[in-house]
């Protein structure tokens, strides 16, 4: 009953055990990896813990208000940005412990050689709304 964001990073996270970039995996390894993620999401939907999941393109654009009567300023993509978000999954679980357990499972998705990649995932709780005030 608390929502958590499982955040996947392109860069910026601590190095995983096997850091072979995905573009150097075999077709089968990529398929196995994606299947693992999809099965994981499907299982969470069945257990009533799934909320949302999306993947994001690596390249983004910074946008800023350009001033009165002027178009927005854009710049980038910033190739050196150290922390690009690859995608996310939102779960709704009973406890922080359960969220950690699931993040651990997701981190075990198979990579090159079919072995778990031990990917680092960032786990962040959502802000809830105001519960009953205890005075």
């Amino acid at each position: 009953m608390a929502k958590y964001l499982l955040l996947k990073h392109y860069r910026g996270a601590p190095a995983p055990v096997d850091g072979t970039p995905m573009d150097q995996w075999t077709q089968e390894e990529i398929s196995a990896h994606l299947r693992y993620m999809n099965d994981f999401a499907a299982r969470l939907e069945k257990s009533g813990e799934f909320v949302d999941s999306q993947a994001l393109a690596p390249e983004g654009t910074w946008v800023q208000y350009g001033g009165e009567g002027r178009p927005p300023v854009t710049d980038g993509p910033f190739a050196e940005t150290k922390d690009l978000i690859a995608g996310w999954m939102v779960i709704d679980v009973d406890s922080y412990e359960r969220a950690v357990e699931l993040a651990g499972e997701l981190s075990a998705a198979p990579g090159a050689g079919g072995k778990p990649i031990h990917e680092w995932l960032e786990l962040r709780p959502f802000y809830g709304v105001q519960p009953t005030v205890t005075e």
């Binding site: 009953m1 929502k3 969470l44 939907e45 069945k46 257990s47 009533g48 813990e49 799934f50 909320v51 949302d52 709704d92 679980v93 009973d94 709780p125 802000y127 809830g128 709304v129 105001q130 519960p131 009953t132 005030v133 205890t134 005075e135």
Partner: protein, 381 residues
């Protein structure tokens, strides 16, 4: 079609089917079928006894379904067991549903979802909207819960404390889609209180009535949090407060004290005061001492420290706080408040900012950030 009537009849009908021996999941399906049939038939041909009509149709649906996949012998047994038609007592069956839906084998979120569905009669979509999850997710959560309790028989009275915890969870969910969950919790707890004679049920009902009564004063029109001391007490629902106090008094008179009654007593003392200054903090501290005796927890002790700070001054509050783990939720916020009252705005500002970083919800975070900003502006002169 009177949707409220259908919703109020649903748990009783479901309870009767389950008591007659229907498997919970199958009974639920049959009741849903009967409701669909009612929506179709009633406008043109309203029944004299809506509940009896629903029981009859649902039971037939259940038998049809059973016939399809169960042995003939089982079916004949069930038909033999069918009691003669006539008015059925509803309270006991609904009560059993409360216990089944709050069964300890369910996770809290499953118990809450099942209770809203089976006892509250809400649709899966309504529950999913209230909890901001996809409907498919909520449907699976509910069907898993149904499977979990399917083997559970109705031969033991359940644990009242578990039912009350689930109802309190429903009340504390602030989300609202189509359904106001706090109001739903009040309705369900009222129903439970009417069916069962138990001082803690009255305690919970009093507590949530008293909290609910003050809801309008708790947030400003822009959604920001208004602390208790600054709330416009004219916005409080005085009728609900009066009702909560009467329910609490009759529960306390039975001399079987429990944690919900004590919390309700504290809430009543807040609600009773015409202004924040008139709050009887000394008596509130006494109730917190009682709560520490019967349901000790770090959170209770933290709240007690707040009350001590009001009753005996900020130094006494800080002393009460000293023995508690600083990592406790709201610990920094309480410490900030006490330091400010003790005339140390610098420490208070730092603690408010720290509390804002660890707040668990937006309204609280924003409120604490404003407190820190207010003191920082003061310090800058």
């Amino acid at each position: 079609m009177d949707e409220a009537l259908l919703r109020s009849l649903t748990p009783g009908v479901l309870g009767i089917l389950v008591r007659r021996g229907a498997d919970f999941a199958a009974a639920e399906d049959a009741v849903q079928d009967a409701l669909v049939e009612a929506v179709r038939v009633w406008p043109a041909d309203p029944p004299r006894d809506p509940k009896g009509w629903l029981v009859t149709v649902a039971w037939r649906r259940f038998l049809d379904a059973t016939r399809a996949d169960a042995s003939r012998r089982r079916r004949e047994d069930l038909v033999d067991e069918e009691p003669p038609p006539g008015p059925a007592p509803s309270a006991d069956d609904t009560l059993q549903l409360y216990f089944l839906c709050a069964h300890p084998s369910l996770t809290p979120s499953s118990a809450v979802a099942l209770t809203l569905r089976a006892v509250g009669g809400l649709t899966t979509r309504q529950i999913a909207e209230a909890y901001l999850v996809p409907e498919a997710t909520m449907a699976q959560r509910i069907s898993r819960a149904k499977r979990t309790v399917s083997g559970v028989r109705f031969d033991r009275p359940g644990d009242v404390a578990t039912v009350l915890r689930v109802l309190y969870l429903v009340f504390n969910e602030g989300y609202s889609g189509d359904v106001d969950l706090a109001a739903e919790a009040v309705r369900l707890t009222r129903q439970l209180a009417a069916a069962i004679d138990h001082p803690e049920v009255s305690g919970l009902l009093a507590l949530i009535l008293l909290h609910h009564a003050r809801r309008a004063g708790r947030t400003a029109p822009d959604g920001s949090l208004v602390p208790l001391a600054e709330q416009d007490r004219g916005l409080w629902d005085m009728r609900a407060i009066a009702e909560g106090v009467v329910i609490l008094q009759s529960a306390l008179a039975r001399d079987r004290l429990g944690a919900f009654q004590v919390q309700a007593a504290i809430a009543a003392l807040h609600a009773d005061a015409l202004t924040a200054e008139e709050t009887d903090w000394v008596q509130i501290v006494e109730w917190y001492d009682e709560l520490v005796r019967i349901a000790d927890s770090p959170v209770v002790r933290l709240n007690r420290a707040v009350a001590v700070g009001e009753a005996d001054g900020p130094r006494a509050g800080l002393a009460a706080l000293a023995s508690l783990d600083p990592a406790l939720p709201r610990h920094a916020a309480v410490a900030a408040h006490l330091h400010e009252r003790d005339g140390d705005p610098r420490t208070a500002a730092r603690l408010y900012a720290e509390a804002a970083r660890t707040a668990s919800n937006l309204a609280e975070r924003d409120h604490l950030t404003r407190q820190a900003a207010r003191l920082n502006a003061l310090l800058r002169g």
